[in-house]
Symmetry: C2
Subunit: 196 residues, 2 copies
Amino acid sequence: MLPASVERLVAELARLPGIGPRSAQRLAFHLMKAAPERSHALAAALVEMRDTLRPCSLCFNFSEAELCTICADPRRDSSVICAVEEPAGILPIEATHEFRGRYHVLGGALSPIDGVDVDDLRIAELVRRVDVGEVTEVVVATNPTMSGEATALYLADLLRERVRVTRLASGLPVGADLEHADELTVGRALMGRREI
Amino acid sequence: MLPASVERLVAELARLPGIGPRSAQRLAFHLMKAAPERSHALAAALVEMRDTLRPCSLCFNFSEAELCTICADPRRDSSVICAVEEPAGILPIEATHEFRGRYHVLGGALSPIDGVDVDDLRIAELVRRVDVGEVTEVVVATNPTMSGEATALYLADLLRERVRVTRLASGLPVGADLEHADELTVGRALMGRREI
């Protein structure tokens, strides 16, 4: 009943997390009513984002250049590396303004049941950074979930002899997602980080 | 701190209704993590929708051809026209499967305070359809709001001499939006429509 082009847009919108078929339809109708520039600007932003972004060659954060803005910043402290599961985990930590070190995006957390093994994460790359650099501490900021904790313990066993390995204080309720935590909680967790 | 291309995408997403800055950021991160095809497909759907859609030359519903699928369908009853404010109002009425007539999209509702006058709506076009066709009834399905009611009364005064003018039974709470009503309520309102 809807024109095919609208059905396709609704289907694509409904694939996004948290957007059901009804919200997708509402968004599509909004875009049809709005100025054409809005749809075109959104489409251009989507394509540009996908075409310009690549992983930072050092930390694997999203980047528009060889190095991401954090790795390229000479004022950041190279002796502390904060390991996160995903690039989205960097944002809440940066928002606290408590951390002046650098990051390492693991690309997930160990979960043998889901087939995520040590080789699937960027753990070897982290070890290499620790080996070659003047790193003195690795702050493990994986999520406070089963797989996040397993990853933290694995990293601690692996790196303990070489550097100080710390973990964000668990102020976050277990099972929660770092990405959605508020800045105060993340800041406090960062301040109270403890040796693993 | 986020790459410029991501900031732009977040800004465009946050312009959509019901999507705040935080949801926009979550959606952007989802799209960065998902396969590039997802962003490209969404971008293509947006552009295609905007570039292929135009108003139906008869009823002003969104259409991919000269006539929309409803106006082009010979099985629809041409003697009954349902006047809605926006194309989005057609969907909930179609969903009831109670209406076999055709539609007319007014393009809004009379609201002198907002500068929406008779000439700003497609009222002349509706009168022309009534004059030339075999129309016997106009069902006014404007929203049960102040401006929707004002539009319904204006249309009734204008058309009463020529055709039967009816109004969806108000089962919807006043102030609500036709677009967001459930099918049962809209169906009941359609069945109980009354002469204005």
